[in-house]
Amino acid sequence: MTTIRSLLDPRSPAFLANREAMLAKLAELDAEHAKAVAGGGPKYADRHRARGKLLVRERIELLLDADSPFLELSPLAGWGSDFAVGGSVVTGIGVVSGVECLIVANDPTVKGGASNPWTLRKIFRANDIALANRLPMISLVESGGADLPTQQEIFIPGGRLFRDLTRLSAAGIPTVALVFGNSTAGGAYVPGMSDHTVMIGERSKVFLAGPPLVRMATGEDSDEEALGGARMHAEVSGLADYLAVDEQDAIRIGRRIVARLNWRKQGTVPAESLPPRQDPEELLGIVGTDLRIPFDPREIIARIVDGSDFDEFKPRYGDSLVTGWARLHGYELGILANARGVLFSAESQKAAQFIQLANQVRTPLLFLHNTTGYMVGERYEQAGIIKHGAMMINAVANSTVPHLSLLVGASYGAGHYGMCGRAYDPRFLFAWPSAKSAVMGPHQLAGVLSIVARAAAEARGQAFDEQGDAAMRAYVEGQIETESLPMALSGMLYDDGIVDPRDTRTVLGLCLSAIASAPLPEPAGFGVFRM
């Protein structure tokens, strides 16, 4: 037992200011989440309800075990784009009949649940999570198909939707489709490719082509029921395995299907968990608005891990990166956390060694980002910072234990890569509202552009337009600042969601439990290199 001693003073002006700023950011986040929850807005929601249908999140709530937790993924997909926030689909991990499942549910109040480019990216991400973590997949289908004006962007890549379903099935991960309404054209392959399908009498419509298209194609006159009604599929075509009488009945049957999957988690069984000794509420006041002011990541670790118990590795070497072992909700975990932003050669080598140690004993890793990148400058280049950074990136890229990434502060430059950024396929990646991520800080980036422009002007012997330069710098700084904010990144699906710092332990615990559905992959084949 090595309990972290907290030096945080929750009455200090800095803490209080940080907390206030964080609460303001959380209020903004709530407002954006509310947009996603509103779906197509009150008019379409009312119309949907008037048809006796449940809203998408009501369907999910009914599907989940009562009072169990649910982690919604990518809720801000499409944020900042021309499309509705949320990508007209809801995805997430929840417990159904005692089994952790990945749920993908169309929101029919948003343009009839039609798929746009963000819908696709969000579902692809959900499929990846289901496959990597072996989570049974439940699709709650009600979609008008493709958003035709954007067909060029979605038609070709969209085939992956159906490919993923059958690959999940082939990997032994069951797929269940509950069809609530239209599931036509390409959408018909969701029930078509699922292992178990439930349709609702007089509600579900599943066909490749509706009556108008059939008439255009073959001249045949047909009605919807005969082409793709639930009863027809249950009794004639055999596409439906179960015929439900209404939505609650379909969900009831879906829950029974999951209850009979004979599902066993194949990963680690967690030990008993203890709550942290330090108050998670204080996570609101650790990270400031000015990311140039460093903070001690141990204060975060103390508020998220079991018993605030943390055994640090190499505490006296490369101390701008904290590494060590802890448990979270009973799961063993290795943690790498930036302490003073910059990664030097020592920190890089320490990280590479630590990652190898975790791989040797098959312990998952958590990366807590607050880095401005690898150190630059003559002395550091000559000391081999590229070589050492490459070691760290090599270790991260080829590590086979599950990785979790959490952006709490800055995540700039190659530091983002070394700390297992999105491109390094962490099983899950979340951000705090205080996080920022870009190739470099907005001020530095604008300054670099300015210096380059000034040098170019001087080389051409032209007078430098100081006024224009100031305007350019302000514009670029503004643009980069906006692009590096978590909502913009979340909108691009560069994370799996922005979380309230106080929920960190819950989110990570839920992810570790999901990860434990799958067996740990085989380790790579070298001994640990001492760095």
Binding site: H33, A36, V37, R57, E58, E61, L62, D65, A66, D67, S68, P69, F70, L71, E72, P75, V95, G98, V99, E100, V245, Q248, D249, I251, R252, R255, S273, H329, G330, G497, V499, D500, R502, D503, T506, V507, G509, L510, S513
Partner: protein, 657 residues
């Protein structure tokens, strides 16, 4: 002196336990007998020895004289205590006991016989100068003599009694009363007398020894009755307190009654009185009474011990004890006052009274019970769960104490009359000592204590406790916060059904705890306890769950709920038009056959339970489609009795094409 060493108790339930305690205090061994449904009953476990009487019904078991006598012989008992009910007033049984060389703890068979026939007992008393209600001949009854009460000659306990308000009803009611008397007592004779709708029921406890000494141990008032059966009894009687001359006349009449038949042991002389001071002899019960504890409380005497001593030939010595204070007894029954006191059955999961009581203590708060947590309340016997008795220096205190104990009792299982008892104990007329036998006819007294907004609050506690216990039983993500959402959208919902109907409870799991969407502040919510706060005042509600049934106990009383499933399986729903058994029992007879056309309200069949006939009527017009039961079928609550295909419904047209 007659030596006794081992007493067979020819009874069950609380009276058997009561007699066991008295025997133990006198150093006597005890032998219990039991029918099969009572095999696990406390009286069987507590007696020194127990003998099984094979069978289920009373007739097969406790009423089988030969079996009881054989049990006494087998277990080496040398005396028999009959308790009350069953064989206690059967002179033939008393004779058989004596003939077998055993000691009979009760009056002589002759005294039992003289008082056993209500008609001849009344004649005997009238001759001795005790006022009686005239016996009326049903054959030439005049309209002016109505209403009348039909009673079974061999009766007792309210069975076979029927009130007739119109001459036209008389023949049918006589038939029913005869049939009921025949079933209950094996003797179908009935008689009529004037019915005092608003009478006061008073009775005098007597104790007589073999030497002819007769003690009058005060009176009891038992005016609070339902279906001619006592529910609340007290000593002394408020009416006698108001009319001292009535009391002396009652004592005198009781003494006369006891002496005139050479009475021996404990007995009770019952009267119906009015507020004018008139009193009429009803009957003499030649046995211990259910309500004997109130007399024990005010006299300090142990009447069962006294019975045993007298049976051993000991005389009554000294003076009769002085009466002190006031005692009230409430009978807790498994019955539903809102549904005509229909008997209820099932498992009794909990029967707990607040700490102040002491089991079978003669003074203070006392609980006499024949059942314990886990007991099965079955349809073969009296549905009384417990008698709760308070004793205090004055009547108001005794009543308040009793009401408080009952309100805070934890009674989990079948529906009981507990709330009605509390309401009676808080009723103005009762508190003023002017309540009469018609009191319980008031519908408001059948209303539950926990209703309306209060019930909704209790329902919320039931739902929140169920949420906590379900989560605690979960195996996945069990130690994560319940109902956690990163994007909160809709509240959790749970539905429960209570007395007042369906309650849907919506609540949010917030960071700070649970928040009811429309309800009081939730201070704490665990599987066993929920603390709610209304305007800063906290109430602690204890919750117990057994399957989908749930009981909530709090300071305002208790409420029971059914936790409703989130989903309904359409295949499990009963077909429309189904008639389901409202109570457990056996089908007595059918009035219809499959294919018969029936009208709404028409009785289709009768179920016998607790020796009562319960008609089951058609809920709508139609044709009998299915009729899966026949005479003698045993049915449980909710069993399908019949399916009525609506007269105009599509179902009726479902004929082969």
């Amino acid at each position: 002196m007659i030596e006794i060493s081992s007493v067979l108790i020819a009874n069950r339930g609380e009276i058997a336990r009561r007699v066991i305690v008295a025997c133990r205090q006198l150093g006597l061994a005890t032998v219990a007998v039991f029918g099969d449904p009572d095999a696990g009953s406390p009286h069987v476990a507590e007696a020194d020895r127990a003998v099984r009487l094979p069978g289920r019904s009373a007739a097969e078991t406790y009423l089988d004289q030969q079996a009881v006598l054989a049990a006494a012989a087998a277990a080496g008992a040398d005396a028999v205590h009959p308790g009350y009910g069953f064989l206690s007033e059967d002179a033939g049984f008393a004779r058989s006991v004596l003939k077998a060389g055993l000691t009979w703890i009760g009056p002589t068979p002759e005294a039992i016989e003289l008082m056993g026939d209500k008609v001849s007992a009344k004649r005997l008393m009238a001759e001795a100068g005790v006022p009686v209600l005239a016996e009326l001949d049903p054959a030439d009854l005049a309209e002016a003599e109505l209403p009348v009460l039909i009673k079974a000659s061999a009766g007792g306990g309210g069975r076979g009694m029927r009130v007739v308000h119109a001459l036209a009803e008389l023949p049918a009611e006589l038939d029913r009363a005869r049939a009921e008397a025949e079933r209950a007592f094996g003797d179908g004779r009935v008689f009529c007398e004037r019915y005092l709708a608003r009478g006061r029921h008073l009775e005098v406890q007597v104790l007589a020894d073999a030497a002819g000494a007769v003690w009058i141990l005060g009176e009891r008032e038992c005016s609070v009755q339902r279906r001619h059966q006592k529910v609340i009894e007290e000593a002394p009687s408020p009416l006698a307190e108001q009319l001292p001359e009535l009391r002396s006349r009652l004592y005198e009449a009781a003494g006369t009654a006891a002496r005139s038949i050479g009475y021996l042991g404990a007995g009770t002389v019952e009267f119906i009185c009015d507020t004018e001071g008139n009193c009429y002899f009803l009957e003499m019960n030649t046995r211990l009474q259910v309500e004997h504890p109130v007399t024990e409380a005010v006299t300090g005497l142990d009447l069962v011990q006294a019975q045993l001593r007298i049976a051993m030939g000991r005389p009554l010595t000294g003076e009769p004890p002085r009466l002190t204070g006031h005692a009230v007894e409430a009978r807790l029954y498994a019955e539903d006052p809102a549904a005509g006191w229909q008997p209820q059955t099932g498992i009794l999961h909990a029967l707990e009274f607040p700490d102040e009581h002491s089991t079978f203590a003669v003074s203070g708060l006392r609980v006499d019970s024949g059942v314990t947590a886990g007991s099965q309340v079955h349809p073969y016997a009296d549905p009384m769960l417990a008698k709760v008795i308070s004793h205090a220096p004055d009547r108001a205190t005794a009543i308040r104490q009793l009401a408080g104990v009952l309100r805070r009792a934890r009674v989990h299982g079948p529906v009981t009359n507990r709330d009605q008892l509390v309401r009676v104990l808080q009723d103005r007329a009762f508190l003023d000592g002017v309540a009469d036998t018609a009191l319980l006819a008031a519908a408001e007294l059948a209303a539950p204590l926990v209703a309306g907004d209060l019930e909704r609050r209790y329902a919320a506690a039931a739902a929140l406790a169920a949420a906590a216990s379900d989560r605690a039983a979960g195996t996945v993500l069990a130690d994560l916060p319940s109902g956690w959402r990163n994007v909160p959208t809709t509240p959790q919902r749970r539905a429960v059904a209570g007395h007042g109907g369906r309650h849907e409870i919506a609540y949010w799991h917030r960071r700070a705890g649970i928040e009811l969407v429309d309800g009081p502040e939730v201070v704490a919510a665990g599987p066993d306890e929920v603390v709610l706060s209304v305007a800063g005042v906290q109430s602690r509600l204890r919750v117990s769950r057994h399957g989908d049934r749930c009981w909530v106990d709090g300071p305002d009383g208790s409420a029971a709920f059914t936790l409703l499933p989130r989903f309904t399986d359409p295949a499990a729903a009963a077909p429309t038009g189904s008639l389901l058994a409202p109570l457990p029992g056996s089908v007595l007879r059918l009035a219809v056959a499959a294919g018969d056309r029936v009208r709404r309200g028409q009785p289709l069949l009768w179920i016998e339970a607790m020796k009562m006939e319960h008609p089951v009527a058609a809920a709508e017009d139609g044709v009998i489609g299915e009729l899966p039961v026949g005479p003698g079928s045993q049915v449980a609550v909710g069993d399908l009795l019949a399916v009525i295909v609506p007269a105009d419904g599509a179902g009726a047209a479902a004929e082969p094409a």
